[in-house]
Amino acid sequence: MTLKLRLLAILCAAGFLTVNTQAITPSWSYENPKVTTGEFQVRNVCMMPAEGKLSKVTMKGGQGMSSESDNWTSALENMVEAHLKTAGAQILQASDAMASGASDEEIRQVIVQLNQKYEDVANQLNRHPKDIKKSRFTLGDDAALLPCAAKSDVLVFVQGEGQVTSGGKKAMGMLVGGKGNVSYATLVLTMADAKTGEILAFARLSNAESFGDKFVDQTENVYGKALDKQFSRLRIGVYLDKKKH
């Protein structure tokens, strides 16, 4: 009888886990072959301002996590930059006027315009990411308007979206299941040709489930390895030289 009860408990736990893991988006990435073959070389990178959004779900509804979102976004941006540097890439910032003589307002306007274009392209990109291989998606050569683009091979867009779930909400999730009851965090990385605006790579990294709510403070542990793997795949900087040898 006790054995049967234990078996039932294990089955229930497995059931809840299945329900919960279904909510988590798996990691994947798509690249244009000209990047993975090394025909298009990535050594200089212009970072677009990262976008991150965290929300907290409790039994009393959602709660703002504005300052946490801000910190998490900075952490994601710094981590991506650090890994790109480790890969031997030179980093430039989209907001940097460099020697262009452009005003801050002009650069802000171009950044917002490029983000608008990116959002627009993302509608199709999210549905058919495989089509990156066919060079289907582009931001247009407006990408070259950014002062940093003159000295960069690619523009990098970093986007994070995460949800922290309270204990009460998790307990409810165990009772009723559903997507809204799991903590998750997804990092989306997109690379666009700095001259033509063509989307060259699109990766969705989602590895937060094993960290529970602690993913917010552990960006390196959550995404570090996956990023290195991704940059090796894209043959960025030193990875390009390694493969040549």
């Binding site: 509804g61 306007q109 950044i111 917002v112 490029l114 627009d120 050569d141 009772l175 809204g180």
Partner: protein
């Protein structure tokens, strides 16, 4: 007055208004009491903290448009609307323009009032802007942000409990289904952000919106603006929504129904006289808001809203026919239209047409959409007309100022698009010689020049 008469001819609307008015008054009285009795709790402090953090994020992300002419204008209208009213505790009114093509205005509970470039470019005069600000500041005066947040938290808790109860109920029962539906809506809201911020941006409860309209109308009259401006603003919002397919509908458009709100505003205006706008009000407004309108046209062109761009640029160009900048923006907008018509066809305006547009918007890239349109004779005709209009506008801008570099660049883009590579090269060269390395666009045009020269050589050789 004419509009009011039209309203009273419609018995259904008159009946709705008759029923709505006492209900709105009763709800407003309850809300007034809640605002008067308001005291800060921990939950409210969190909302205040979130609002401040959002202000910082908008600034940090470069979404705030800072213009030396527009900002003082916006501040002066805001100040006039607030008047001498006592400012609630923990509120500091700040009026800010956001670079965002979505037609929207919203106020955070800490008194930060945001108006998007999308909305500023739609409005026609100062009194309409005052109408928008009076509505938004009313939300702050009445503490709607905090009250809505408290109400939402209570509802969310109840729904969560119901969801648990429902999960224990027999599966497939009606009760279970309805509760799951509510739960999904709550979860969706929660996934976006703090509910209160979502509510601030996308709208409060119906009662709160009516109260903000009523309070806004009073503030508008007290500040000697014409109260009919609010009705006209609702009209503009309604008309504009038919121009493009919007992936996200702004709150203003249907919550509560714009026609209903417009009629209530007209009813109020009929009993309250105020200064009528002066003849050159529209021109003065357009001049003050020109930075926002120009920014908006660029954003529209970056987000597949070419028809809106043509509409806004036409407005500017008609008012300031001698300004080559506005002519070039209008020409850019016509060029970007490509095979699209300036206005949606009757077919596109139908429900089926809109559904088709929605499908295309999400499944086709702009290039694919153009290709599909060009496969039809109508699309080819539209492309021909739009390109001809664009060329004529660029040339007209150069007539008024032959050294206007952007007109040469635009002509270069147009000729390249038309396969007139030699002429495109000449225009790009003129542009480059005029900006002499000082333009942000120098490098891109140099690249394009090299490309069109190659194409031009290739076509010469093939001949």
């Amino acid at each position: 007055m004419h509009r009011k008469a039209a309203c009273l001819k419609c018995p259904t609307l008159a009946l709705v208004l008759l029923v709505m008015f006492p209900v709105a008054v009763t709800c407003a009285q309850e809300l007034d009491k809640a605002a008067a009795d308001f005291h800060f709790t921990d939950v409210d402090t969190q909302v205040l903290h979130d609002s401040k953090a959002i202000d910082e994020q908008y600034l940090k992300k470069g979404l705030v448009l800072q213009d030396p002419q527009l900002q003082p204008f916006l501040d002066s209208v805001g100040k006039r609307i607030i008047g001498n009213r006592p400012i609630p505790d923990q509120v500091e009114f700040k009026f800010t323009v956001l670079r965002d093509p979505m037609v929207q205005a919203f106020a955070l509970p800490n008194g930060s009032v945001y108006v998007t470039t999308g909305l500023l470019s739609l409005l026609e005069d100062e009194s309409q802007l005052a109408a928008v600000l009076s509505h938004e500041t009313a939300h702050v005066f009445e503490r709607h942000g905090y009250l809505e947040n408290r109400s939402f938290r209570k509802k969310a808790l109840t729904l969560n409990i119901l969801q648990i109860v429902a999960s224990a109920a027999p599966a497939g029962g009606n009760f279970s289904q309805s509760v799951q539906l509510f739960g999904a809506a709550v979860n969706l809201g929660a996934a976006v952000s703090s509910e209160i911020i979502v509510a601030s941006v996308f709208g409060y409860s119906r009662e709160m919106e009516h109260q903000a309209d009523n309070d806004g109308l009073i503030a508008l009259s007290n500040a000697s603006y014409d109260p009919t401006a609010m009705a006209r603003t609702f009209e503009l919002l309604d008309e504009d929504s038919s121009l493009e397919y919007e992936p996200i509908q702004g709150f203003y458009r249907d919550h509560p129904k714009l026609t209903e709100r417009r009629e209530l505003a007209l009813q109020y205006a009929s009993t309250h006289k105020a200064n009528k706008p002066e003849a050159d009000d529209k021109k003065t407004y357009a001049d003050n808001a020109s930075a926002a309108i120009c920014s908006e046209i660029q954003l529209d062109l970056s987000s597949r809203r070419e028809r809106t761009a043509v509409d806004r640029a036409s407005k500017l160009s008609d008012m300031f026919p001698d300004n080559p900048k506005y002519k070039v923006l209008l020409a850019d907008s016509y060029r970007a239209l490509g095979a699209k018509t300036k206005l949606p066809s009757p077919d596109e305006r139908t429900r089926h047409g809109q559904a088709e547009h929605r499908k295309e918007y999400f499944s086709m890239t702009p290039e694919e959409e153009q290709k599909r349109l060009l496969a039809k004779p109508d699309g080819q005709a539209a492309l021909h007309d739009n390109e001809a209009t664009a060329e004529q506008l660029y040339k007209s801008a150069l007539q008024s100022n032959p050294n206007y570099a952007d007109a040469h660049r635009g002509l270069g883009f147009l000729f390249e698009q038309e396969g007139r590579y030699n002429e495109a090269a000449t225009e790009y060269q003129s542009y480059l010689s005029m900006v002499a390395g000082t333009s942000m666009d120098h490098l891109r045009i140099e690249r394009r020049l090299a490309a069109v020269r190659k194409l031009s050589d290739a076509s010469m050789q093939s001949r």
